[in-house]
């Protein structure tokens, strides 16, 4: 089932990854797949399938949770990020994440965007200003709020806050951007804007997204992986997975017979 054209290069290689939480729920079982650079990689499937766990493992946010077991390898540009002494702070700057519910920090819009940069030690005002304008434009938010960057981030609408959080991640110029149901709380217009943004961003970044519906998954996926109860059921090019799924369960889910 190969389509003509160059095979994209893998940015992240996941090798036989298994994660289990200490309350007994096994969340990921033997996952092996690639995340391709400059593509929109989609993880989809019903709730509890392990998609969020995979995202949280990819930038080691799961270090904070009650993980009882973690096995396998995750290679980012060939380096195993699950190594104990891997620089987690550096990793999180390279692999950014946007959550389902926007989490603006309790400060102004401007400060929200430059927060990560300030932490990374950037002090130059011109550089910070430039980053704010660039990322807010990338997140399709600039035109709406350019004249009130000093306002509290809480004053923005939910859709604007979500794009602000995207801009905040972009400010660190990560290599990979992960989005966990970024449009679950958004209206259709904001959702459309975010999806459009992703299409623009994939030129420069590797995008990994858990969409909030099958329809959205089908709309945006270059590559799609179907997760069911901790297992990777099917993984392939988006067009193939959504039009000619090989696995019966994938087909049943896509056509809405369960989920």
């Amino acid at each position: 089932m190969t389509t003509p054209g160059a095979t994209p290069e893998p940015k992240i290689q996941i090798l036989d990854l298994a994660v289990a939480y200490s309350d007994g729920t096994e969340s990921l079982q033997g996952i092996t797949m690639d995340i391709y650079a400059h593509q929109i990689n989609v993880l989809f499937g019903p709730a509890g399938g392990g998609k969020s766990t995979l995202l949280r493992t990819l930038n080691r946010l799961n270090d904070q949770a009650d993980v009882a077991l973690q096995r396998g390898q995750i290679l980012l540009d060939g380096e195993d990020i699950l190594e104990r002494d891997y620089d987690v702070i550096q990793l999180r700057r390279r692999v950014g994440i946007v959550f389902a519910r926007p989490v603006p920090l309790p400060m102004s819009i401007y400060e929200n965007v430059v927060y990560g940069l300030r932490l990374a030690g950037v002090k130059d005002k011109a550089q910070l200003d430039a980053a704010v304008e660039r990322t807010l434009k990338q997140a399709v938010l600039w035109d709406e709020i350019a004249d009130r960057l000093g306002d509290s981030a809480y004053a923005l609408s939910g859709g604007q806050q979500q794009r602000l959080c995207l801009a905040r991640s972009l400010a660190l110029q990560p290599e990979v951007i992960m989005l966990d149901e970024p449009t679950s709380g958004l209206d259709p217009i904001s959702t459309f804007k975010v999806e459009q943004t992703l299409q623009n961003l994939k030129k420069d970044y590797t995008i990994l997204i858990v969409p909030h519906s099958v329809q959205q998954a089908a709309r945006i996926a270059d590559w799609a992986a179907f997760f069911l109860q901790g297992q990777l059921v099917e993984w392939g090019q988006g067009r193939q997975v959504f039009t000619a799924p090989k696995n019966r369960r994938t087909e049943e889910y896509i056509t809405g017979r369960f989920g």
């Binding site: 930038n59 994440i97 920090l105 932490l119 990374a120 991640s169 660190l172």
Partner: protein, 317 residues
């Protein structure tokens, strides 16, 4: 701040079964009356206390000129009724206790809430709460036997009964309140905040200092108010360890000399005073002053909490 997306539990149908309708209504009426009476009685009690304090305290302001009340000498036997040394004593000891208890309490709360593993937390938290339950006489007792001799030697004073002794013990007493409240507040800071911080490449410490603690700022203020409220109203401990000399401090080093608080004065003198005498009324005036101060502190705490809920509502909209 409960999660807004939690499903509401279905409202039970309140229609009584046929036949039992009348009895159900009677029981309902009785119960709701009983609850009303208890609820109202609390309010009435507070009002009665206030009225009583005013009735017994106001004559003091008539019988003793205001200038005398604001003088620096408290010596009731000879009709010197200067309240300033008492107010100064209470303020110094309360503020001192807050200055010690707040940073220590916040640090402890951060330690318990953010740093230790869960099983340690399950041990530490109940222990802190047990500390809150120790009667103040017991703390005063420990203070007299352990802290006082220690301070007498350490500060080379004729007696270890000083304002500072009271400050330390009161801080110790206010600590559990501060720890408990702050820990609860830090606990309610959503995990997503921490994740957002970590995801931006913050270290754990930066996340705590720059995101979690600022998010719980108003809760920390509430803890301060509650701690201060406990400290200023405390009687037994301070009476036992502060030496009870009514004098206005003349310099910062005077915290290592005896002091006397408003509460200790009332407790020590009320039993021996002739009812209806000027001294008697002045003691009530002291109580009234104390009441006004605690009331103001509670009001400030309520205002802070109220502001927090308003902001939370705005965030959810």
């Amino acid at each position: 701040m409960a999660h807004s997306d939690q499903p509401l539990s279905p409202t039970p149908q309140l229609s009584a079964a046929p036949g039992s309708g009348k009895r159900g209504t009677l029981a309902e009426t009785l119960i709701s009356r009983a609850i009303q009476v208890t609820g109202i009685s609390t309010v009435v009690l507070v009002l009665l206390i206030f009225v009583f304090l005013i009735r017994e305290g106001l004559p003091a302001f008539v019988q003793v000129p205001l200038a005398d009340l604001l003088s620096a000498r408290w010596y009731p036997i000879e009709d010197y009724f200067g309240l300033l040394p008492l107010i100064a004593g209470s303020l110094i000891i309360t503020v001192g206790a807050a200055v010690i208890a707040l940073p220590l309490g916040v640090a402890t709360a951060i330690f318990i809430a953010e740093i230790v593993p869960d099983w340690v937390r399950d041990i530490l938290k109940p222990m802190v709460e047990i500390l809150a339950g120790i009667p103040s006489v017991v703390i005063g007792f420990v203070g007299m036997l352990v802290i006082v001799p220690l301070f007498r030697v350490a500060f080379d004073t004729p007696t270890g009964l000083t304002a500072f002794t009271g400050i330390v013990l009161l801080a110790w007493m206010a600590l559990p309140t501060v720890v408990s409240v702050v820990e609860d507040v830090l606990d309610t800071v959503p995990r997503t905040y921490r994740d957002a911080g970590l995801a931006l490449g913050m270290t754990r410490w930066q996340t705590i200092a720059k995101i979690v603690v600022p998010a719980g700022k108003s809760g920390i203020l509430t803890a301060l108010m509650l701690g201060v409220g406990r400290a200023i109203g405390e009687t037994m401990t301070v009476m036992m360890v502060t030496g009870n000399a009514p004098r206005i401090p003349s310099g910062p080093l005077d915290i290592f000399r005896p002091a006397r608080t408003m509460t200790a004065t009332i407790a020590a003198e009320m039993g021996e005073v002739a009812q209806g005498s000027t001294h008697y009324h002045v003691l009530f005036a002291v109580g009234l002053t104390l009441f006004v101060i605690t009331f103001a502190i509670n009001l400030a705490a309520a205002a802070v909490v109220f502001r927090r809920t308003k902001r939370a509502e705005r965030m959810l909209s």
